[in-house]
Amino acid sequence: MKLFKPAFVAITAATIFFVLCATVFAAPLICIDPGHGGKDSGARSPDFKIDPSTNEITFISDGTTNTASAAGYIDGEINFTGLPNRIDSTTGNLKLWESDANLDISLRLRDLVRNGGYNICITRNKDCSVNTPAADINKDGSINRTDELLARCVVANNANATIFVSVHNNAYTTQTAHGTETYHYPGSTSGALLATYIQDELIKQVSTYDRGVKSASFTVLNGTNMPAVLVEGAFISNPDEVKLLLSPTFRQKMAQGVFNGIDKYLLTTLPRIAGSDRYETAVYISKEGWDSASTVILAKGDDFPDALAGAPLAYKYDAPMLLTGSSSLNSKTSDEIKRLKATRCIILGGTGAISDTVKSELEGMGLSVKRIAGNNRFETASEIAKEVDSSSQTAIITSGLNFPDALSISSYATKNQIPILLVPKDEVTADVKLVLSTLEITRTIIVGGTGAVSQDIENWLTDNNYNPEKRISGANRFETSALIAGEYFFAPTCAYVATGADFPDALSAACFAAKKNAPIVLVEKDSLPTDISSYIRDYASGLEEVILLGGNVPITDDVVREICAALYF
């Protein structure tokens, strides 16, 4: 019984966990809400006529005639395609109804969203009101407006939509008011971000006057549970903008703008940890992971070998890994050390890597400073391994001449306190030999192909009972990275993405990733390697977080787009 209970709890917890996770990276569902409809036309344009022979639009106001040629507007294409003709039976004049324009733009948007691979739901797809059953029709047959708006929210909430976009067009009492604006609920940061992207992309598409992003406590923004925006495309009360809205090309561009904004927003749902340079990125990682830390590890920011091996040590002391230049302590790093209230700093590497000036600066800040260094990178790695002094009896053997393989294995090695020993291509250095025997290593993992860690090294390990039970080696750094993730991170809930082209971002993150039991996977600057894509796809349903290390220079938006596609579709 005692055994049964924890098992039962564990199984239940696991089930709940997986059910929760399964929804995390499903394809986003966009709820589109065409404003008004049915009895509620929304705003109506001033009266106008269209001369069928010349395609000329004439606005009639206060008995005067304001004639404007259709020529010169988008494609010169102005007609009622896609919109019902609203003719006044007594005057024969035409009007544009907001509800009609909203619906047409929304249906175009729906198609774009669908073609983009997202899921959609729409609150109405014809000229009608949106009703919750029975409850919202007044006795006189009119619609209970509040409930009508809440019904739109209910559609989105019940569908568990990722985002909600209400499509409207604007109006004012002056005919001069013009332009495009996007609303979000006051205080909603995600809503504000979505509104900003949509507004920017809309303006790019339609080049109307940019009225900006605004906030208002509109019912549909208040009643929806997800990031929500209300787009006001153009002014139905402005003759020039009515002409634009009559053009199907313009309405298509408007839909395209909204879609581009949505798409851009969904790309940004992957958080980035990125500073203006490597030093600041390391600081940001430290800030993410530590409120305070008694020990910090300091490595040289412009070369990799010392820090490569340092991650297991950082983990041992629960210490953030910070970077500095060689000659003086980086000011951002210095500020972060103060924020952490650290009392001890371990410098990785000799005075050639980090000068004694830096050491003095640290001591001046009141820290006790320890330097771990050998005569070269291989010796330093061995010295670090001695300091880690792990009882895992396992060691990673990888190339000290390049960084990607060590980066990819760093999270696993760190988590399991496995020292990372660096070797030149085909020699086991005396220092490595000493560490292997001191730490009583019985098992080794080789990371990298025979081009990086030679067959001779593997043979030597075998001959000396260091049992190289595994060599993880892909055709390139990305495949190796995917193989490591696949081997050691089964069904992770979190993954870190770093560039495979440079080392600093991933280096600083190794200890942080280890704390979350998350792999660090490597990507190319502007494309997602196939093997990494497959790995993400395989575990997408369990991933709760995918965090990008570095800004959009090391990892471009194109890559993020591909990662989202792998997660969503």
Binding site: H36, K39, D40, S41, G42, A43, E98, S142, I143, N144, R145, T146, L149, H168, N169, N170, A171, Y172, T173, T174, T176, A177, H178, G179, E181, Y183, R211, K214, A216, S217, F218, T219, V220, N222, L230, E232, F235, I236, S237
Partner: protein, 193 residues
């Protein structure tokens, strides 16, 4: 002849004076405070020697009207006769519309004010049917209408929130993005230019 002309003029002056005094007395009886302050307002403009006593006979209101683009609310200061119900007076002035050329009226055409009732820092503003009937749809228009009223009313330290009524009832307005039935509005300073 000359003498007769002089008499006629004198008689006319006397008659007019009597008539004017009579009128003034009559007015004073009916709407004494209003009439007094009208006179005070005129004199305060024509001379620089206004005393604090006469100043207190008018109230300066800050009204918010819209710009032509429905982007911002523009303050307009206006002096009205001192009144027991300045909030009501402020809305009456909003209904009258702006005096400055570039300011745009924000209240639906034909709207009449039934009254303003302030309870627990919330002003209940009761409009006639026209507020609802002629309400201008469109987010920009709605925001100008609502917040010209709300920002004008929240100029008074006793008012923090505003709720709109139509002939005493909480009503929704068809097509509005706001929920007039339940929503209470607070000041939005961001809209003020």
């Amino acid at each position: 002849m000359k003498y007769f002309k002089f008499l006629t003029i004198l008689l006319a002056v006397v008659l007019v004076s009597i008539f004017l005094v009579g009128c003034q007395e009559e007015k004073e009886l009916e709407t004494k405070p209003a009439n007094e302050s009208e006179i005070v307002e005129e004199s305060s403009e024509s001379t620089e020697t206004t005393t604090s006593e006469t100043e207190s006979e008018t109230t300066e209101l800050v009204l918010y009207f819209s710009d032509g683009q429905a982007m911002y609310l523009l303050p307009e200061k206006r002096k009205v006769p001192k009144t027991e119900t300045p909030a009501q007076a402020a809305i009456e002035e909003l209904i009258k519309g702006p005096e400055e050329a570039e300011h745009v009226s924000t209240i639906p055409e034909g709207t009449k004010l039934n009254g303003v009732n302030v309870e627990d820092e919330t002003a209940y503003v009761d409009f006639s049917e026209e507020f609802k009937e002629n309400y201008q749809l469109g987010s920009a228009a709605e925001i100008m209408t609502v917040y010209s009223l709300v920002n004008t009313l929240t100029e008074f330290p006793t008012i923090k929130k505003v709720k709109f009524l139509i002939n005493g009832e909480s009503l929704e307005i068809e097509g509005s993005n706001f929920d007039f039935k339940t929503q209470e509005f607070s000041r939005n300073a961001d809209l003020i230019e």
